[in-house]
Symmetry: C2
Subunit: 228 residues, 2 copies
């Protein structure tokens, strides 16, 4: 078995800050799989060419190249059936997918809160690409995107109501133990804490308590990463 | 076996418009259970006294009184294990709960779009209670709550992004077939269509197509109810 994961890195190679890569790093740990995790930068798009696209995570397994976190999670589940399940069956898999799409949704909110912090941590060769592509996406400068983040924060926190309500009655979204549902959401919070000291959650938020449980999972895999 | 369900009704006894009652009516059908469904109005709070609270749905099973749609769904799952499962196992149950809390979240948005339509369908004896309690909750008149609904509609539709994304790759939130996850969300859309001609969804929205599939489930249980 040979597993390689291309993982977004900043100017410091050990600073890893892709929400989607964190989903897969946690999923690999859940399944007890070791992978060679390779730092990758936006300017290394050519390296990913065999995957047919230019974004991480990219997983390489026995010369098979896969992209997209949901596709990779499903591949790991199918290829390693004797390992702990990420989904708990076909229905569990279907029910889990909302956590991936909710994670995507909240990514779209969080990026507006931490965009300048991402920029500050980028390798020099990535900065121009990042500024240009993101300013085009948002239709304004990076600085303008985040200038109202203090007023956007309560809106973001309110939108977490459905997640917060779940965690009032169970420790993980997967129930008594974390499942891929948890990793799909946790990626966003880990991404933010790896590149920003802006506090997304109030200290007494049940989601903050869940985040702490996730940070401690797998012998502190996420906790030990360079972060704020 | 004796099952009774108290179900919110309007001036017309056959007009049923509680999102939470619809969750349970669909769940009962999923499990192949027959219940006596009893029309109930806000002014009938005393009838529910044995449940220890004053809101529907209330299920009565062999003299046991239960309230809260999530509690009732769990009770049905435990009491009728030989019937089709609403959750697909313990992990499926944990993963399903987000659909109940997402449904609650979207209820809070939909009520601001259809509040006057609810009011118009109430039995006379319920109107004063409804106006007073809701105007206190919203801090404005019923008429004021809905006056901006055309500008609120796109915000509501945007917030459905995670649900829409799931339905792009699977026909039901439970996967190939509906599960309680589907009923927990469908309750909101059925509630709205039972009392309002205001169209919540664009015709080409994948959620609208899913709603049609849900309307047709169980020989058109939801489709055959008085609605718009």
């Amino acid at each position: 078995m040979s597993l390689k994961l291309y993982d977004l890195a900043g100017a410091q190679p050990e600073r890893r800050f892709s929400p989607y890569c964190w989903r897969i790093r946690m999923a690999l740990a859940h399944k007890g799989l070791e992978a060679e995790v390779i730092p990758w930068r936006f300017s290394d798009k050519a390296v990913l060419a065999p995957s047919g696209q230019g974004k991480v995570p990219v997983l390489v397994h026995n010369n098979k190249w896969l992209s997209d976190s949901w596709v990779i999670a499903n591949y790991l589940e199918e290829q390693f059936p004797g390992h702990p399940s990420l989904f708990a069956g076909a229905e569990g898999r279907a029910l889990s997918y909302i956590y991936s799409t909710l994670g995507d949704f909240h990514s779209g909110q969080i990026v507006r809160l931490v965009l300048m912090d991402i920029y500050k941590h980028l390798a020099d060769q990535d900065k121009e690409y990042f500024r240009q592509s993101r300013e085009q996406r948002f239709g304004m400068t990076l600085e303008q995107v985040v200038q109202n983040r203090d007023t956007q924060l309560p809106v973001f926190r309110d939108s977490l109501f459905p997640l917060r309500a779940v965690l009032k009655t169970q420790p993980f979204f997967g129930g008594d133990e974390p499942l891929y549902a948890d990793y799909a959401l946790f990626g966003q919070f880990q991404w933010a804490r790896c590149i920003s000291d802006f506090e997304l959650l109030a200290a007494d938020d049940p989601i903050a308590h869940w985040r702490t449980r996730m940070l401690n999972a797998f012998d502190g895999l996420a906790l030990s990463a360079p972060a704020y």
